[in-house]
Structure formats: C-alpha cells, structure tokens
C-alpha cells in the first residue's frame, strides 16, 4: 500500500504526459492520414506514388527506429533542434498517419460510386462531394478500425520513454527503482493503461451508436 501511496502521484503526472502526447499526436495523425489517403486516391500518378512510398516506408520499419531517426537522426543534421516531446509527438503522428491513411482510403473506396455520381450530377464539385457525401459515410464505417489504431498508438507512446520523455511508462520505471517494488508499480502502470484504453473504446462505441448508419 505504501508503494501505491508513494508512486501514484508520479504515475498520474506520467499519465498526463502520455495523454497530452497521445491527444495531439492522434489529431495530427488523423489529419496526416486524411491527406495521405486523398493523395493516394488523387487522379495524379505522382501523388499516388508519394503517398504509397510514405505508407510503405512507415509500415515496413519498426516504430522505435522511426523514433530514433526523427529524434537523433534529424537532430544530428543540426538544421533545427527538436526536443524529445516534439519528436515523440511527431513520430506517433506520422506512424499513426500512415495506418490511418490506409483505413481512410479503404473507407472512401467502400462507398458506392453511385453516391458520387448522384452528388456530381447535382452540380457538387469533387471537393464538395468528398466533404458532404463520401467522407461522412466513410467515417461511420471506419470508426471501429480507427479506434483500434488509436489504441495501438496510445500503447506505442510507452516506447517514448526510451528518449527520456517522462510519460507513464518512464515514471513507472523511476518509481520501480525508487520503491524497490517493481511488481506492484508495473501492475499499477498496466491497470492505468488498461483503464484509459477501456474508456477510449467505450467512448468509441458510444459515438458509433450515435452515428449508426440509418
């Protein structure tokens, strides 16, 4: 019980850092994913290729290598300097963005072509069609898969502890050494992650029910 009492406030501080990074990174990641999906589907070959190379590069390399490349690799060029939190956010965002883009692309392609034809026949341009007709329908279908990816990204943030970010995992490591009670500290850390992820999936299923396709 002492362990819990001593470590808990630190773990909560760590959780704040984790959530802060997660929320910013997931929003950025979603925007990246949307952009890359649209590039992938654009009627211009070169844009399709750029998008595909980006997705393949991210999918084909480990998260931790991406993190080291962005934090140590880019900083070593000495063109600009990025602190570890920024590098962490950027890495999670880019990584999630690549996976989101594939989810969004599949979602867009799953919408019947007749929807686009109806919208275009009314005089809506391609952008209006995407925005008002295709994407709103596609997002409803994508929501479960998007939630899944968001959960994976949340768990990926624990790897940011290796570049010294004081997230939940890092705080756990510090408290495990400080209290000599690794068993209980990591158990609590695990429970905290679990609760957050559980709440996240509850939120997602609430949103899903609210926007269920009629």
């Amino acid at each position: 019980m002492d362990t819990i009492r001593n470590a808990f406030p630190y773990l909560m501080e760590g959780l704040q850092v984790t959530l802060y990074i997660f929320v910013i990174a997931i929003i950025l990641g979603f925007l990246i994913g949307l952009l890359v999906a649209l590039l992938r589907l654009a009627p211009i070959k070169i844009l399709n290729w750029i998008a595909k190379i980006f997705v393949d590069a991210i999918r084909g390399t480990p998260f931790i290598v991406q993190l080291f490349f962005i934090y140590f690799g880019l900083n070593s060029l000495q063109i600009f300097s990025m602190d570890n939190t920024t590098a962490g956010i950027v890495t999670v965002a880019i990584n999630a963005g690549a996976y989101f883009s594939e989810i969004i692309r599949a979602g867009i392609q799953s919408i019947d072509k007749g929807q686009t034809e109806a919208a275009r026949s009314l005089g809506l341009n391609a952008t209006q069609n995407m925005r008002f007709i295709v994407l709103p329908q596609a997002f409803r279908r994508m929501l479960p898969t998007i939630t899944n990816q968001a959960i994976i990204s949340l768990k990926d943030t624990s790897l940011l502890s290796v570049i010294g970010i004081a997230d939940l995992t890092q705080e756990g490591r510090i408290q495990a050494s400080a209290t000599f009670d690794a068993f209980n500290v990591y158990l609590i850390v695990g429970v905290i992650y679990f609760v957050v992820i559980y709440l996240l999936s509850l939120l997602a299923s609430f949103v899903e029910r609210k926007f269920v396709l009629r």
């Binding site: 929807q115 034809e117 275009r120 026949s121 005089g123 809506l124 209006q128 329908q137 396709l213 009629r214």
Partner: protein
C-alpha cells in the same frame, strides 16, 4: 429552342467502342425515350449528356454550351441537368428533406427558408411530404425513386435525365414513379428517359429513339416507331419486348 445537341458522339471504354457515332437534337419541352437492348449503349449515351462519362469524341452542347470543352465549368452546367438513377443513389446519411435540400443549400444563393419551403413543395409533388424527416433506409424502392426525382428537381434543372428509373422497382411501385414523370412531362420539362417501359414511351414520349450497337438505328414519334418500324433490328427488338 434547342436544349441538347449531340454531334458525332463517340465513347469507348478502353478498346470497347460503346457509342460509335451518335448525333441528335433535343428541343425544349421534348420528351425523348431511349430504348434498345441491354449493352446497346443507351445508358452510356445518357451519361454522356452530363459528362458523367468522359466523352471520347464528338461534341455535346447543353443549351449551346459545349460540355466536352474542358474550360466550360461542368459543375455549373450540371446544375441545369437533373439526373435520376436506376439505383436511386439517395444519400443514406441524410434525411429525405436533407437529400432534397443539400445541393441547393451548397450551390444556390437563395436563403435557407426558401430552399426548405421549395423542398416541401417538391416532396408534396411526389407525394412524400410526410416522409421528410425519415431516412432513405426506411423507404420502399418506389418512394426512394420519387425522393430522387424531388432531389434532382430541387436544383431547378432545365433538363431531366432518367436512367432506367423503374428497372429496380417492384412492379407495384412502377406506376407511382411513372405518374410523377408523366406529371413532369405535362408541365413541360425537357426529358431524356432511358426505359424498358414501352407503354410509357408510347404514351408520354414525343419521340422514341432506338439505339443498338452504338448507333441510333431509328428515331421517330412513338406511333410511327412502334407501329411502323423501318429497320429490321428495330422490328426484331420490338417483337421481343412488346
């Protein structure tokens, strides 16, 4: 006044030449029914009239504007050309009312209230005012198609294109949709209707166009085309469908 002028229209899908050489003129208030065997290119012809299909060769003029000319704003032209599809293509995430108001809300400068009032009038016209707040998933096929007609009319089009509007309907639903179309014809809408409903073509059409093999084989007033077809292919097609 000429609403649609088609000159030597050609359309290929890859190596497959679907429309080989189509020329015709459709006047204001004219109702033209397009008939022909499946795969003859009649739907493709219709879809070229609002450039839903990219046109391979020739010209299509809508109210004098060449839609094959890339610098002409196709989105603007399409606002004048309503289209009704075989599969309805209603927007499932929008209510019936929103289906009808969506395009005018985004594209017309009228105020929202006027657009909504107009939408209710149109729903009245197709007999579905009481369904305004229902979603398309809860409608029957015939109801969906009537909403689709109202949706197209909401843009105040000068021309209406119908692509086999009753082919996906249960037989007992066909009448309601045809009645709405008849009403439109009576009111003087310029209409091009791809259809298998020979009764409708005969009764409502000012002209019937028989398309086969990528050409207009024969076109004439319904009584002549049905009563006295000139071409062997027309005769053999009519003998199968009548």
């Amino acid at each position: 006044m000429t609403m649609i002028r088609v000159e030597n229209l050609k359309k290929s899908f890859g190596k497959l030449e679907v429309l080989k050489d189509i020329s015709t003129v459709i006047e204001e208030k004219e109702v033209v029914c397009v008939i022909g065997p499946s795969g003859s290119g009649k739907s493709t012809f219709l879809r070229c009239l609002n450039r839903l299909e990219d046109i391979t060769g020739g010209h299509v003029y809508i109210e004098g504007v060449d839609i094959t000319e890339p610098k002409n704003d196709i989105n603007k032209i399409r606002q004048d050309v309503g289209m009704v599809f075989q599969q309805f293509n209603l927007f499932p995430h929008k209510s019936v009312l929103e289906n009808v108001t969506l395009a005018p809300m985004k594209l017309k400068k009228n105020d929202k209230k006027a657009i909504t009032e107009k939408a209710y009038e149109l729903l009245d016209k197709v007999g579905l005012r009481e369904k305004a707040n229902v979603y398309p998933g809860q409608l029957s096929g015939g109801q969906k198609q009537r909403v689709a007609i109202a949706r197209a009319l909401a843009m105040d089009p000068k021309i209406m294109l119908f692509d086999e509007p009753t082919s996906a309907l249960d037989p007992e639903m066909v009448g309601d949709v045809l009645d709405v179309m008849k009403q439109l014809a009576v009111e003087g809408m310029t209409m091009v209707v791809v259809t298998h409903e020979m009764g409708f073509a005969r009764e409502v059409g000012d002209r019937v166009m028989f398309i086969d093999g990528g050409y207009i084989v024969e076109e004439n007033v319904p009584s002549e085309l049905f009563g006295n077809p000139q071409h062997e292919r027309t005769k053999s097609f009519l003998s199968k469908v009548l």
